[in-house]
């Protein structure tokens, strides 16, 4: 029994033993970035690890904070990102990109992209909680940001984006409801992370869909070749597909993977806060697990994982718990009754290939 998700619940569910931590002897590193103008306080991380980090070797402070931090109140998102990235990717050097204090005419997310283009030595894994509706952004902007992700992929950086917390989304286009995809989740050059819940919220059980988990098909980016087979399989076999008028079946489909996104404990401003939910939580968890796999790869003399999707889809999600129960939310209308896509065997646009089973995923990605 447990009263919400803590590091030990995460480590138990994803089969991380006390030995599954960074060795502290490699140049491995990971980073989380949030653009909500929130401060991050190391003291919160130290308190969090004091409360919840007793069962595994961990670092109680971050290695590098990019962006001025002030004495102001810490933000829950900034605290959550770091605390769970450093719980899943334990004992691995961690950077935090949290940028309050920038000039008023700058765009925080764009400033992060400039940082990527200006620093030779960056962490291997970046978890990012940021997303906007595709329809609110210009195509010039999205195409250029997509190119920035290609630059990062060419350099072997792994970028993980939250899939969003509005399910399939919904908006009205010339009087008809349609699903509302989110960017950068819909970029074909990032790995997008959806969300799950425990079937029983007070036990470590198998996982079902968290109804908020963002997912669907891009209206801007075509489907990349690496996912054609998996998506075709889903569209052919799903017993509960929404009417095709709601989505663009030829678009880049997301998410690619998932992790728990429901009922987290977070320490912010020294206060433990329960029941925090969102794919901003699942993303650092998945990122930390990829960092652990990078640790083993580096110790084996192999390169870091880099852009994961081609390999993930080629291996048909080996090493992931397949989530096959539950649907995410969408348009509240007569036709859909609020139900978007539903999960099913193999890849689906709610939880992707599923959630990490560390020892099996490690074996798969070490080959």
């Amino acid at each position: 029994l447990h009263l919400g998700v803590t590091p030990s619940v995460i480590r138990k569910r994803y089969n991380l033993t006390a030995q599954d931590v960074g060795s502290g002897t490699t140049n491995n590193s990971q980073a989380c970035a949030q653009f909500l103008e929130q401060y991050f306080h190391n003291s919160d991380l130290a308190e969090f690890m004091r409360l919840f980090g007793g069962s595994f070797v961990h670092q109680a402070s971050v290695s590098h904070v990019v962006g001025k931090q002030g004495r102001g109140r810490a933000g829950i998102e900034a605290s959550l990102d770091v605390e769970y990235l450093m719980s899943a990717g334990a004992n691995i050097s961690t950077w935090v990109y949290s940028n309050p204090g920038r000039h008023e005419a700058q765009e925080p997310f764009l400033q992060w992209l400039l940082l990527l283009s200006n620093e030779s030595a960056l962490p291997h894994v970046h978890t990012v909680s940021y997303g906007d509706d595709e329809d609110s952004l210009s195509s010039a902007y999205m195409q250029r940001v997509n190119t920035e992700f290609m630059k990062a992929a060419a350099r072997g950086l792994t970028l993980l984006f939250a899939s969003g917390d509005s399910g399939a989304g919904c908006w009205s286009v010339s009087g008809r409801h349609q699903f509302r995809p989110s960017f950068p989740a819909s970029s074909p050059y990032v790995t997008t992370v959806g969300g799950t819940s425990f079937r029983n919220p007070f036990q470590v059980t198998n996982e079902i869909v968290d109804f908020i988990s963002g997912g669907g098909f891009s209206n801007v980016f075509p489907k990349p070749s690496y996912q054609e087979e998996a998506v075709a399989q889903f569209l052919k076999s799903s017993p509960r597909l929404p009417p095709s008028s709601y989505f663009n079946a030829s678009g880049r489909a997301y998410p690619d993977v998932a992790a728990l996104s429901d009922g987290y404990w977070v320490v912010s401003n020294r206060i433990p806060i329960p029941w925090v939910s969102g794919t901003s939580a699942s993303t650092p968890v998945f990122g930390g697990i990829l960092s652990l796999i990078n640790e083993h790869r580096i110790l084996n003399g192999q390169p870091p994982l880099g852009f994961l999707n081609p390999r993930l889809y080629q291996q048909h999600g080996a090493g992931l718990f397949d989530v096959t129960h539950g649907c995410h939310e969408s348009c509240l209308n007569e036709e859909l009754q609020g139900e978007g896509f539903c999960s099913g065997p193999g890849w689906d646009p709610v939880t992707g290939w599923g959630t990490p089973n560390f020892p099996v995923l490690l074996k798969t990605l070490l080959n």
Binding site: A105, L114, V276
Partner: protein
């Protein structure tokens, strides 16, 4: 003139209010995304280093190699710099890949440089942030069309968090 981002949403996000026009003598920094080169080659390289069946799998590029491949053409660099200097931009700095340029200008210079813009100061969002933005569409001289992808710092507001606190009772009712 032409509009690089005619389809960018330019409405005030909920919870934000205008504090009025910015003083024309105030300074602000804008980021110019310069047109890159060899993007098809870049896409091929991403495929090669990310596909486990490729002989080049895991052989990543260094930042300097990416810069070598995609940096804007000399014509782009020269045309944009000449345009910005003529408008009074100063303290410009670039990045290793040279495909972003951030410059400081006075508001009146920026509003002349980007016809249609009108800078206001806004306050809002969960952290009660202050930003300077223009909700009017901006234009660039047609001659810049082959050289600039977009200008950052005009329309997009900081994002808001989507984290929620969902006590168990609410979730239990929803799981079904």
């Amino acid at each position: 003139n032409y509009s690089p981002e005619p389809d960018q949403q330019r409405k005030l996000p909920p919870g934000w209010v205008s504090l009025g026009r910015v003083d024309p003598e105030e300074e602000l920094s804008l980021t110019f995304a310069l047109r890159q080169q060899n993007l098809k080659r870049l896409s091929e390289l991403v495929q090669a280093v990310s596909d486990p069946s490729s002989p080049r799998y895991g052989k990543y590029l260094a930042l300097e190699e990416v810069a070598e491949l995609i940096r804007p053409s000399p014509l782009t660099l020269h045309t944009v710099q000449k345009w910005l200097v003529a408008a009074g931009a100063r303290n410009c700095h670039s990045v290793t890949t040279q495909d972003f340029l951030t410059c400081w200008l006075r508001v009146r210079q920026a509003e002349l440089l980007l016809p249609g813009t009108e800078f206001h100061r806004y306050v809002g969002g969960p952290e009660v942030s202050r930003v300077v933005r223009s909700l009017h569409p901006y234009q660039l001289p047609q001659a810049l069309a082959p050289h600039v992808d977009f200008v950052g710092g005009l329309h997009r507001f900081p994002p808001t968090s989507s984290l929620r606190q969902r006590p168990r009772s609410q979730v239990a009712g929803t799981v079904g």
